[in-house]
Symmetry: C2
Subunit: 245 residues, 2 copies
């Protein structure tokens, strides 16, 4: 039996947003590896071994998947959203790079619906023009770099999507980012807080930058900042396709 590793995006939560190719990979797998809340989304069945693990052990998890594949197992590493956006795909390639044998394993990456696009769709079209995706966590980069990127995104006229805006261990960081936005954007700038999109806990709220406070975000929130042209109409927000000359 030939082993393989597939990194699969489960989308933000709803089964109806899981692509058929991801469902097929899960049906063919012998092993599922991932952060425990994502592994919990996979239906158990005879012959399928689940390997849930904790947060912040991405390289160990990738190494386990590569070892299992080398032993002939068919391994799916599950990510929430899209595996290439602040998720397990880069961690897997880091592990492969460290081992120095990039062609030793049959690897596939299967895209998924990433949180910012699921949130944008529920709220309207706030990312309808040029935009940036920024991970606000300072686990793997200094906060000064986060702030520098937010500043360039704002000065460049981009809409922005913030992943991991705030957690119990990083309660103050998002406040610093809001301060950077207040230096670079007008007070009426629209900000969407989208929590647990596509799940029963879904909650959406749009406020102005003047009204935004850090407590509006938590670990399950993606934050979308419009550009200067983003508009609110009825319950929707959208960013026009045009930039006037």
């Amino acid at each position: 039996m030939t082993g393989w590793v597939t990194v699969a995006g489960l989308g933000p939560g709803a089964e109806a947003q899981v692509t058929p190719e991801v469902s097929l990979a899960l049906a063919e797998a012998t092993d599922v590896v991932g952060y425990f809340p994502y592994v919990a989304r996979v239906a158990p069945r005879p012959g399928l071994v689940l390997h849930p693990s904790d947060n912040r052990v991405e390289l160990d998890r990738a190494g386990l998947a590569l070892d299992l594949a080398a032993a002939g197992r068919r391994v799916v590493i599950v990510s929430s959203g899209d595996p290439g956006v602040f998720a397990m795909a880069s961690a897997l390639f880091e592990a492969i790079d460290a081992r120095g044998n990039p062609d030793a394993t049959d690897i596939r990456i299967l895209p998924g619906i990433t949180a910012m696009l699921a949130a944008a769709a529920r709220a309207g079209a706030p990312l309808g023009h040029d935009f940036c995706a920024i991970n606000l966590s300072d686990n793997l980069k200094p906060l000064s770099e986060v702030e520098r990127r937010v500043r360039h995104a704002a000065l460049g006229g981009f809409a922005m999507a913030f992943y991991n805006p705030r957690s119990n261990s990083r309660p103050h960081q998002f406040g610093h980012v809001l301060d950077v936005l207040r230096e670079t954007c007008e007070p009426a700038r629209l900000i969407l807080f989208a929590r647990a999109v596509s799940t029963p806990d879904e909650a959406l709220s749009t406020v102005t930058l003047a009204e935004a406070v850090p407590e509006m975000a938590d670990m399950r929130t993606v934050v979308i900042v419009g550009n200067a042209a983003t508009r609110r109409i009825g319950r929707w927000i959208y960013t026009p396709r045009s930039v006037p000359a």
Copy 2:
């Protein structure tokens, strides 16, 4: 009968990347509206009226969908990729905004796999850290604004995904963007040209900025520019998750 308008993302091309909720919306539709190559991806069936239209008539198409829904029809506007990324969702809200009645129609936006994430997955994980999505077309914004955004993205250390990099009517623009990249990035910067991802015509090519020429892109290409840390290993490229302090 109550009409509705759903804007649905068909993903980049493969049926296996169309989400179940999009397939269900198409099954419930009485009318499908969209740019003709996307409408051609919907299987005809008795009772389903197809309304293919040409490029650059997005507002007319949105107006048609709203009129059909007002007459009780169930309308799906199809977009390639994700409808919220340089596609029909913003055009629909522009049309609704112009009519001034945002709550008159039952609207849903269904996300899809957008081209940059499908391309990134096929190539590895080049968007594994902070990134920007930029539409290089100057149909709806001045080229100076495109260049300004690319410069901020490069100076901010973002990876970049370029949509609509080049067409027959805009053959020279992508060359100007490469010039901006040469001013702001090192010659060894990795660039992925991903054409017609997930279709039988798929072609991927990774080169350095020093090697890149405009002719490597066409209308069906999405271009991904790594950040300074993006690495090539075997046939893969990926961007590490960390930025050193």
